[in-house]
Amino acid sequence: MVHWYVLRRFRIKFGMTAKIIMNIESIKSQFPIFKQQTPLGKELIFLDTAASAQKPQTVIDAISSFYSGYYANTGRGSYWPANAATNSFEKAREKVAQFIHAQYPEEIVFTSGTTDAINKLAKAHFEHLLRPGDQLIVSEMEHHANLIPWQELAKRTGAQIKALPVDQEGQVSLSDLSALLAQRTVLVAITATSNVLGSKLDVAQISKRAHQEGAQVFVDAAQAIAHAKTDVQHWDCDFMAFSAHKLYGPTGFGVLYGKREWLDQMEPLSYGGGMITRVGITSAKYLRKSPHKHEAGTQHIAGAIGLGAAIDFVQEIGINEIEAYLDGLTQYALAKLKNIDLLDVKGGMERAPVIAFTVEGIHPHDLATFLNEKGISVRAGHHCAQPLMTKLNVHATTRASFGIYNTKADVDALTDAIEEAKAFFL
């Protein structure tokens, strides 16, 4: 079965209207996991991309060919393959910078993921800025990764955490933000896209408002990165982080973006080899410039190369095209899910391809087990966002989320299976 999707029309030079057509089956065929069946002999219908995206063959090959073709440590050897490895590693940095519209590649610091980036940023930068009584603002819908490191930082510094309220659609209001900013605030740490409600925040406006009051802005782009254009200059955020694995890239690798002046000014994110100039027994001098002052020790070189390949994969299709396609699929899914009796979709209509819902009388884990028997992978639980669950007055939800390999047929399989689950459990 071949699904052809007309994505959008655009006017080309000669005044003709052309259609960009994306063949999802052909894209899906680039993901080897879908070539096999589940242990129960079903086709895999993967609806948990918000947790982690599947990997295209090009990413797997890029990692494999680094290990088998030109493996060596980076930045140290003046021989082949060390120089080839270094080139690929630094090329990945340039690709990331271009992908997120950073001004300079030096603004891209490699980490082991979003969580690692936030923990390090809290310690190396904000810990030195916070005084007792200062404020940190987070929203009520942050992933635990963008909450707990700040809680710990507040404990260490005597600062206070304030919660920016979110409404039922997962939006925040600038007037609430302004009210909170009346107190001396050092940082506003906010997600670009909710991993539960899918809501997309107006980061540029939040940034502007925070900056007017002298606060810095950190954006958690873990959920946003794969579904829409990321432009850190438009956002005007001071820092941003994302993980490679949510962008069809490898696990254990991610990025901390920071404005160059901050990254050059702040303390190193970690200490060890590769970030020093001179070392004695009792003291050492460090590199002053980002990114290498922040990247101590041997880096996850294959991770960087894999992320570079993932960005190539995404750009080959086009991030705007991916957004348009997944938006259409999400609207289709929302319409179908909302038609199911006893099913309650959390959040609003305008959203990233993430849909959390409850079915009255069926616990999310029971539903997830039932769906798994049919080869359908969904997530059940609190999605690492317990404060939001409390706000929504639910203990857990079932979450379906989409990637570039999902089709309307996957949504149909989901909604059909939910109806069957209702017949079974209720």
Binding site: H365, T369, A380, H395, A396
Partner: protein, 146 residues
């Protein structure tokens, strides 16, 4: 598919998951145990009235999936009137019953139909903690009291 899922959610489990007979607080409870799975958010509180090593009364409150609720309801029902010494081997047997790595045949462990219903959890390792949640909490209490 239907057979596997039917085995997991046997009538005993579906019925017990909706049985609220023992749901509630216990005014004269001597012990309250919290059984909480932070990975999924399932949470139950077992209220016990213990007297001279015997559970005189028991009730539970909380929320979670059908499997965790049924297993908590059956546990609560089963322990009333028994001494901790009597309960300990039943808890051990139950944990063995749901353990996918156990070499023992479920029928050789118990002949209680309600408990045997949970043996299907062996084929669903990701749901084992749902079945064991409250039982492990009670097991810890018994160990502590010894």
């Amino acid at each position: 598919m239907k057979d596997r899922i039917k085995a997991l959610y046997q009538t005993h489990i579906l019925v017990k998951s909706k049985d609220n007979t023992l749901v509630g607080q216990l005014a004269d409870a001597t012990h309250s145990l919290e059984a909480y799975n932070p990975m999924c958010g399932d949470k139950y509180t077992l209220h016990l009235k213990l007297s001279e090593g015997r559970i005189e009364k028991a009730s539970f409150e909380g929320f979670g999936c059908a499997i965790s609720k049924a297993s908590t309801a059956i546990l609560t029902e089963m322990i009333i009137g028994k001494s901790l010494v009597q309960i300990k081997p039943i808890v051990d047997d139950f944990l063995e019953l749901i353990n996918g790595e156990s070499k023992k045949d479920p029928e050789s462990i118990t002949n209680d139909d309600q408990l045997l219903a949970f043996a299907a959890a062996r084929a669903f390792p990701e749901r084992r903690t749902c079945a064991s949640l409250s039982w492990e909490e009670l097991d810890s209490l018994i160990d502590e009291m010894n």
